[in-house]
């Protein structure tokens, strides 16, 4: 009875992982470079689930005496244990998958220090990217290498991110933000550029937007950093890769 439940849960867990991989929502949780590990895990879970079908070594009471104390390794799983193991799938299916957004920012530091430290030091490859393809992380790495907000003035930018605001932002400004993820969403660090746009109040928090404009030297929270003077801000879908990867 318990063994078949275990087998079912393992196989369902494997299928759950496959469904997340196929729908692309797995990238809401982990860095793309660890995708293959999840594929292996999903296959492994299904294989282990199947193995219960062919198991020949059963309980240890066949030799006459009953070893009750061996409950944990081959024994029955309590209903609560089963429920607990199933909880990632239950939660994952009950609450629709969504990448981290503005709500997760409130618990993280939004200052120049955190913005620039989230970027890994090497940025050599980034500089060769065409300017219109540079993302928020690339621009911040550029800025960090010069550390002079004026140096990047006049650069044209095209950025995709979600809208973040708190009480430090003026009426006409918001932050176009992304999370940088090294490993999984647990280590997500926020990153963003302050955008000046007269129609900012029309934007909803957490809404994904595409911002085009030019960089100009500015100040935020008492620190010198480049700001984006937006020419246009249009709403857009959540990108396939909602997070940026530092390496």
């Amino acid at each position: 009875m318990t063994t078949s439940w275990k087998a079912i849960i393992l196989i369902v867990m494997g299928l759950f992982l496959f469904s997340r991989i196929l729908s692309g929502t797995l990238l809401f949780y982990i860095n793309e470079r660890f995708l293959w590990l999840t594929v292996l895990a999903a296959l492994g879970l299904i294989l282990v689930g199947i193995s219960y079908r062919y198991r020949t070594e059963h309980d240890h009471d066949h030799d006459g005496h009953h070893h009750d104390h061996d409950g944990h390794s081959h024994g029955q799983l309590s209903w609560m244990g089963l429920l607990l193991i199933a909880s990632p799938m239950v939660l994952g299916l009950a609450i629709p998958p969504k990448p981290l957004g503005a709500a997760a920012m409130t618990n993280r530091d939004i200052s120049l220090e955190s913005l620039t430290s989230a970027a890994a030091p090497e940025g050599g490859a980034v500089l060769s990217k065409p300017k219109t393809e540079k993302n928020i992380l690339d621009w911040i790495i550029d800025f960090r290498q010069t550390s002079d907000p004026a140096a990047l003035a006049g650069e044209e930018v095209k950025l995709v991110g979600f809208v973040y605001r708190d009480d430090r932002f003026a009426e006409d400004s918001f932050m176009v933000s992304r999370f940088v993820v090294s490993c999984c969403a647990a280590d997500a660090a926020p990153l963003g550029l302050v955008v000046h746009w007269p129609d900012s109040p029309t934007l909803a928090d957490d809404q994904w937007v595409e911002v085009t404009g030019v960089l100009e030297p500015g100040e935020f929270g008492g620190e010198q950093l480049p700001l984006v003077k937006a020419a246009s801000v249009t709403s857009t879908d959540v990108p396939d890769q909602p997070y940026l990867y530092p390496f």
Partner: protein
């Protein structure tokens, strides 16, 4: 063996004792703690009812991300454990255990090079090795060191930091701290260290060693393989529940505790180290990738604090300490958190004050 039989027959008459963690009061208390944490999140934000949903969303995303990141490693560790059960017998293990306790602890510290498992996979493997008669000290040294002293993590640390003080101090410190703590446990009696059901299972193993390793000699290789896999599956369930509770706690902490509070401590020579160690404990990321994460902090924290993050995090974090509960007594789990904590803290504070990097 006689004792065990009489013991087990007596438990058959009396109601089943609440040996399992999930049948104990501790489980209820833990559940209560999670509920309270969740309630706090709600109360904290109740002026913004709209953000309540997105808070829950953030919690679920972080919880699933830790879980999904850890599953491959836990599964690998469980399967290794199953293979050990079927293909390796106690005599083989016994032959490899050095007689001198200090040597045993040191070998335990380096054993990760043979069993490349990280912090999620190491717990089921250690548990299985205990069943096969590994000394307590060697197992603890292995369990604490292996998440760092293994080829994959060495490679990722090298990739992130290159050949430098951080790279080799991480290896040396992890190895030394783990071996010394393992050696300390040489002086403890197994019945004071291991959970009672784990002890009973060891006794059981010793009563019927042949039942497991040469159970059905006529069985085909494929059958033994399926057995190994399904034993691995049992381990996955045993350890998975601790992993899940640990991931939930870590996700709750992350949705509750503001990181700026922690990172503001970045300046002081001791507080910066405490901050990074707390961060390592709370974030609970896998040791295979934590070097890349540590890179993000090199500008705001001194090298010794980064080192503390890289040494303490793999040994102990929320999810691994929850998993320890599946093998060790609760008091021992407390020691297994506090001893590495104190050792890492003292050494890195000393380095911070006396070294120029």
């Amino acid at each position: 063996m006689k004792y065990i039989e009489s013991h087990s027959s007596s438990t058959e008459i009396t109601p089943r004792p609440a040996v399992g963690f999930f049948r104990s009061k501790a489980a209820l208390r833990l559940l209560l703690a999670i509920v309270i944490l969740a309630a706090l999140v709600i109360i904290r934000d109740n002026e913004l009812v709209g953000s309540l949903g997105s808070r829950a969303q953030t919690f679920v995303t972080i919880f699933l991300s830790i879980f999904i990141e850890a599953v491959p490693f836990l599964l690998a560790g469980s399967i290794v454990s199953g293979l050990l059960e079927v293909y390796v017998n106690s005599e083989t293990i016994y032959r490899f255990v050095p007689r001198h306790p200090l040597a045993a602890a040191l070998v335990g510290g380096g054993m990760g090079l043979i069993f490349p498992v990280c912090e999620c996979g190491v717990v089921p493997v250690t548990r299985r090795l205990y069943l096969k008669g590994l000394p307590i000290s060697m197992g603890i040294a292995f369990m604490l060191a292996a998440p760092v002293i293994n080829p994959v993590v060495l490679a990722s640390t090298y990739a992130a930091f290159g050949w430098g003080p951080i790279f080799y101090s991480r290896i040396i410190l992890s190895f030394l701290i783990a071996s010394v703590i393992g050696f300390v446990f040489h002086f403890a009696k197994p019945e004071d260290v291991l959970r009672s059901d784990q002890l009973a299972a060891i006794d059981h193993h010793q009563c019927h060693p042949h039942e497991h390793t040469h159970d059905h000699p006529h069985e085909s290789g494929l059958n033994r393989f399926w057995n190994a896999l399904s034993i691995g599956g049992d381990d996955f369930f045993d350890m998975g529940r601790y992993l899940i509770i640990g991931s939930m706690l870590a996700a709750a902490m992350q949705t509750l505790v503001p990181q700026p509070v922690l990172l503001a401590l970045g300046a002081g020579s001791a507080t910066s180290i405490l901050a990074m160690m707390t961060l390592a404990f709370v974030l609970s990321v896998c040791s295979t990738v934590d070097s890349f994460l540590a890179l993000a902090f090199v500008n705001s924290f001194p090298p010794a604090a980064i080192l503390a993050f890289l040494v303490f995090g793999p040994m102990v974090d929320i999810k691994s300490s929850l998993m320890f509960l599946g093998v060790f007594k609760r008091r021992v789990v407390l020691y297994l958190i506090l001893l590495p904590f104190m050792a890492t803290l003292m050494i890195t504070v000393y380095l911070n004050l006396n070294m120029s990097w």
